[in-house]
Symmetry: C2
Subunit: 425 residues, 2 copies
């Protein structure tokens, strides 16, 4: 039996989950993997703080050197979150010849090139299954199951907080602010929810997933990001009436070497496999030229689902003879072979308040037609409060910039565009 | 760049798909994996037969020795299907020190212990991602992502032919025989459809998946198997009315060391993630104690999806330093640590023709109650042709044997049990 001695950087919910899983699964790990995993040191901010796991007090330390410089420790597992000091600590561990397992999407998305370079320099491993989508094994699948695929298309529900909020708005017609408040009370949203509701969390994850799917670095700043804060119950109910479900989607598409990466609220047909992924579940739907359509669905957060991914990385790192790394040129900048397209084509859902008089519809259709945007579906609702009538238009696929230009030409005296929401099929 | 020389056993649809994928993806494989894969010999029955892929004539051979005994060939890929001669040929390849990649569920399910023993004896690999569920990477995920999970529950739609038939019966109210005929004309069902519609295909796959999920050999004969041939449009429409969707499910459950493995038609609530997996799609839903609920969905058959899995195995086999094998005792017999339960608990859907007179319902409820089976839902339909009325009962969860015993006690003069279909939730 091989003994593997590891250290933790951080010991919050996920760290506690990993501790508990390693403890309670000790017998199975010994039997199945012929491994004994021993946690030697755990870096914390405050050794006296109460914890959800029973880490013995003598393992706790506030000195990072005890973890990253202990020659006995061969694997350092990082759960601190945030870019710094996590990145610097991981770099120190890698430079000291230790393999790093991380659950930290921010540090990885922003400093992957530095971390990978250090790992390759020292011939050690860098593992990050838990950095995206919790228990869903999307990293392993992209790296070890879909190698022979040209992935053209990847769409994911990769933020549980926003999916919980949007699922409730869809089911019950509730308002954004009310559901957000509930989610905060239930611990499903942070007191400062910006990273989730503004789409940043999803954008970090998409940067990692798209880089692996497209075999070229897709840096975080290249991801177009739009959050869910301006969505209304009215938009969702009008979409529902037309057979659409609203999701915060992370979308990566590739056509030749042109790629688009974007996170934004998106209407999907209610028959789409992603449409029935509700609550705090995550899912990634993708299409490869060989595998065709595939979807992975599961728990994208939570201490035990995330621990499941972390421990699978620890076990793989412990048995690997050679640590594999992505073979693309991993730099801070975007892969020079990729062209980033910000004028993507999709359909658009427009909610417009219009003057209720003859000829208005013809005008709107005309303004859209001037930019070659044509109308696929329309729905006119009863009178609204302000004497204007809500009109819903779903366009055929059109370039983003044409749609924006068409809308700019709308005469404000005739109609006001209340919402523009992208529609994917 | 490392050159890997491989040989094919068989060259039907899947073999042709693998040939085409290796050819068309040659540049990417060189770039991403630093590998050049060369097919040196292809065993076929008839060298003059027209093929869907452009294998050069000089590679074709009818002599298996050209593949399994060529010292240059390091990986043998098997697409022959069926237990023999595929098993013997794979054993010869393994004994000659070659790694084997197979898409053959029958040979693997029946002779896994012999194949693994030969591979371990010679320190070579045995890879079989393509043997179950086409492109869906369930083997990789069970082995390399869910190692730290106690899997309690796995339910799969793992046969595309039957899922196509049941999806159409559900959507359109069509009869089994009509849809089967269509499926045969479309090439979605074999001229002799027995292996699919009797559930054997799913049972082979479940034997493999359950062995990996439970870390103990679950031999094929231990899988209870019941097909879809006796299902009627009436059962499906009555179930639909009660909120159920009918699927041929492969089910594996574990409680302590007691396991149940079974393939049979199953009603699922229409809100279950598996209920919306339609047509020829496959999906596996599972629950682990750490990862919680997870579902993988994709193309379970077809030349390119299966080739996606085969080529991923070829690439992994080509780069592996050590070939991993399951660590459970892989014997012909069931793992002695597992107890197989054939008296599982589930809910039951009963379609009964009853005499339309007072007291009948009380009698039926009484017969069920005698075996402690209680009624969860009931639906009485209008008059049927034969003066009897269709009555649908869905029971609460009850042991299979109690339910069977209760039904035996039903008085044939009062009612006839037309269908018994298990219900999972």
């Amino acid at each position: 039996m091989k003994e593997v001695i590891i250290g933790f950087l951080g010991c919050g919910n996920v760290g506690g989950g990993v501790w508990n899983l390693l403890e309670n699964f000790r017998k199975e790990i010994a039997h199945r993997n012929h491994l004994s995993i021993r946690v030697k040191k755990v870096l914390v901010r405050d050794v006296s703080k109460a914890r959800s796991c029973a880490v013995p007090a003598e393992l706790l330390t506030t000195n990072v050197e005890d973890v990253v410089s202990d020659p006995e420790i061969s694997i350092v597992v990082e759960f601190m979150g945030g870019e710094q000091p996590a990145t610097e600590y991981m770099l120190r561990a890698l430079n000291a010849g230790k393999t790093v397992v991380t659950a930290n999407k921010v540090a990885l998305a922003l400093n992957w090139h530095r971390l990978q370079a250090a790992a390759q320099e020292k011939n050690v491993g860098l593992y990050y299954e838990a950095s995206v989508c919790g228990a869903i094994p999307i990293i392993n699948v992209l790296q070890n199951s879909l190698q022979a695929n040209r992935i053209g298309h990847m769409m994911g529900i990769i933020n549980g907080t926003t999916n919980y909020i949007l699922s409730r708005m869809y089911e019950n017609g509730e308002d954004y602010k009310d559901v957000l408040g509930d989610a905060q009370r239930l611990g499903l949203a942070e007191p400062n929810p910006a990273a989730d509701v503004e789409g940043l969390d999803a954008a970090y994850k998409l940067s990692i997933m798209a880089s692996l799917a497209f075999h070229g670095r897709v840096p975080f700043p290249k991801v177009y990001t739009e959050g869910i804060t301006r969505l209304t119950a009215m938009d969702i109910s009008c979409g529902k009436e037309m057979g659409y479900v609203l999701k915060l989607l992370a979308i990566a598409k590739r056509d030749g070497n042109t790629v688009q990466v974007r996170v934004h609220p998106t209407f999907l047909p209610d028959s789409h496999p992603l449409s029935s992924v509700n609550g705090s579940f995550n899912a990634v739907y993708l299409q490869g030229h060989a595998c065709q359509e595939m979807m992975l669905q599961g728990r994208g957060a939570g201490d035990m689902p995330t621990a499941s991914a972390v421990v699978s990385d620890i076990l793989r790192a412990s048995t690997a003879e050679i640590h594999a790394h992505p073979t693309f040129s991993n730099t801070a900048e975007a892969d020079p072979s990729l062209t980033f397209d910000d004028n993507w084509q999709c359909q658009y859902f427009l909610r417009i308040s219009v003057e209720d008089r003859p000829g208005v519809l013809a005008k709107i259709a005309g303004w859209l037609a001037q930019e070659n945007v044509s109308i696929a579906k329309m729905l006119q609702k009863g009178k609204a409060d302000n004497d204007r009538v809500p009109l819903i238009i779903v366009t055929h696929a059109a370039p983003e910039k044409s749609l924006r230009k068409a809308i700019e030409a709308f005469d404000k005296d005739v109609c006001t565009v209340e919402s523009v929401i992208r529609v994917e099929v």
